[in-house]
């Protein structure tokens, strides 16, 4: 091992400068100033993450999960982005930091794996070059050594015949292999924090598990902190230490993984859980759907944002936004006035069913007509004047 390799190795395994969480996010906002209004994509998110731990961020499209990841890293540079609050990496404040300072963190301290490996790799640049350019820029490695390291990286992410792959173009690889390459690229300079933004969504189901396993093993080997963003609760089930469920820009439930699945409190999370098809169900079981659609992020409803679609909804929910409170298990936070599994919640649901509230019917019986009604009601509510 020569000097450069030694230096590279040191970078890869250096401990954090201080004990405690690597990433601390406190009341973090990301808004977009558009001609139509201020889009509150991320509206007050708080969490912390230690090295070696994985946080799963789950939500449907429009929940703000992707914006959260990109905004935390500082990748959003369009002129209309407004970031507020605090997000510190290793003590260094990311919100309001200069572009150059942020850029010095990218690659070596934090990295991101994107959703679609076909579009996140440069189609006209060879694989090898895409891996080594980071190495050569950050670690100042000469060409041959960079190639050596690229080979080792490709090996470590499980790509067979890596020497040949180095000279190939992305379109010559399969989807799963391309994603492995993007992971290799992200990990090349030894980041301590990895954002994985829907890393398996664009892949075949058979390949998904492999990629997720790869991410997990790399994470433990390198003692990285990982934020795993996905819309699929199944993906985070066995692979995360903690899960944060996002809805309409806010965290609506956050808990250690086991606690979340065992004692779900927020109705939205419950609905997400229910919508996962289970192998043991008899065939032709109707899929549970959540009627309606996510709220308008420019003018979100005053009360709980999930209220229009919630089976447990009560009048209070429309007017007062529930704060994050802690459940019995420490570290389990949720946002609900009539949570699942409590007396208040059960009563609320029963009352709704008795009054034929569409959301409740849709949730309990899987009635798609009722689900459609929820959406119609939402549309009418959002536009009382009749001007769409």
């Amino acid at each position: 091992m020569n000097d450069n390799q030694r230096r590279a190795r040191r970078v890869l395994t250096a401990p954090t400068s201080q004990d405690g969480p690597l990433l601390v996010v406190d009341d973090f906002y990301t808004h977009f100033d558009t001609p139509g209004g201020l889009v509150k994509a991320v509206d007050g998110v708080t969490f912390s993450l230690e090295r070696g731990k994985t946080l799963g961020v789950v939500g449907e499209s429009g929940s703000g999960k992707t914006v959260l990841a990109r905004s935390l890293m500082g990748l959003l540079t369009s002129r209309n982005v407004v970031r507020r609050g605090s997000a510190t990496y290793n003590g260094q404040e990311l919100v309001g930091a200069k572009n150059n300072n942020l850029r010095s963190l990218w690659g070596t301290e934090m990295a991101m794996v994107f959703q679609d490996p076909m579009t996140s790799l440069n189609p006209v640049m060879r694989i090898g070059r895409q891996i080594t350019e980071g190495l050569r820029y950050h670690l100042d490695l000469p060409k041959e050594e960079a190639n050596e390291q690229a080979l080792q990286l490709l090996n470590s992410v499980g790509i067979p015949d890596p020497k040949r792959r180095l000279t190939q173009y992305p379109h010559e690889l399969s989807g799963g292999m391309r994603q492995r390459v993007t992971i290799a690229i992200a990990l090349a300079c030894g980041p301590k924090l990895l954002f994985a933004d829907e890393p398996t969504t664009a892949l075949d189901v058979t390949v998904q598990a492999q990629i997720l396993n790869l991410l997990n093993s790399q994470q433990s080997e390198r003692h990285m902190a990982m934020v795993l963003v996905t819309h699929d609760l199944g993906v985070v089930a066995g692979r995360t230490d903690e899960i944060a469920v996002m809805y309409a820009g806010q965290i609506v439930e956050k808990a250690p993984t086991r606690a979340l699945f065992a004692n779900v409190r927020m109705p939205y999370t419950e609905a997400l859980l229910k919508s996962i098809p289970k192998l043991e169900d008899p065939s032709h079981t109707r899929l549970q759907i959540i009627g309606g659609r996510p709220p308008d992020l420019i003018n979100p409803p005053p009360g709980c944002r999930f209220a229009p679609r919630c089976p447990y909804v009560q009048p209070k929910c429309h007017t007062e936004q529930p704060p994050l409170v802690e459940a019995e298990t420490p570290g389990h936070l949720f946002r609900c006035w009539f949570p699942v599994g409590t007396e208040a919640g059960r009563e609320a649901l029963a009352s709704n069913l008795a009054h034929h509230v569409p959301a409740a019917q849709a949730a309990v019986t899987g009635d798609s007509a009722a689900a459609a009604q929820v959406e119609v009601a939402q549309l009418v509510d959002s536009d009382p004047g009749g001007n769409a």
Partner: protein, 322 residues
Amino acid sequence: MTIVRTVLDRLVKLLVVVLIVSFLTFMLTKLLPGSPVNTILGSEASNPVARTALEERLGLNKPFLEQYLSYIHGVVVERDLGKSYSQDIPTTTSLAQRLPASLQLMLMAQAISLLISVPLALLSAYRANSRTDKAITASAFGLISLPGFALAVFLVYLFSIQLGIFPAVGYDRITGPGGLGENLKSIALPVAVLSAGLTAVYTRVLRSDLIATLQEDFVLMARSKGLPTWHILLRHALRPSSFSLLTLFGINFGTLIGGSVIVETFFVIPGVGELAVRSILQREYLVVQGVVLVIATAFVLVNFVTDLLYSVLDPRVRRTGA
């Protein structure tokens, strides 16, 4: 193996196109009213005996196809592109004399345009919608809308009349008495007029493609690697964005080979374009035919080369030969 086949395939198509072009060029003079006979005979045009004799000599009374074939034979084998009747100069000689001027105009204009437009487009696309960008885009738009001769008028007024830096007309060869200095001075304004239009178009086109590319995921990924901006712009964004630019660039090589007619006429530069116009106005059919044939063939050849270059730029194209 497939690459060889694709190239051969294209070469065959090229040959077919060139033949068709030559046929159409040949037809050109047949279709237009008036006859070369009139031009040559001049005052004797009404004399039927002279007419018949000349027609016999020129072979104009033979069947159409035979005329065409002998024409092709003349071009390919004997390098005969006809000649000017009033001055009795073979077209090949005229073209050879005039090609350097047009070539110099074209090469310099293209080079300067590229040198200016690429950095401008990069700057403009990177700072899209900023004031810099808006200024650049507006200027490009304005230049495109300014007709060449109008710009020429303005430049001559400013630099020749008022400031007296550059000559208003004329072309001094590099091999001439004034050497490179006079040559460059005489060609400065014409090149400026040509480059203005080219630069404006190239900047717009490249900027547009760059903006689209900069929104792609792989650019975001490159950024997330912590690479510096210039590296991303030049190494990641530029190549996939250059297709439209390359297409235009290639096409312009083809069109500019004909010399820029307006510029050459205005600045009195003895180039290919000026030859074409003068010959048309003087009804020198054969010269026109020869010039058009050369220009059109050159255009087709240049396009062929451009097409080949596509496969070099985009590896995805190589396989399919698209």
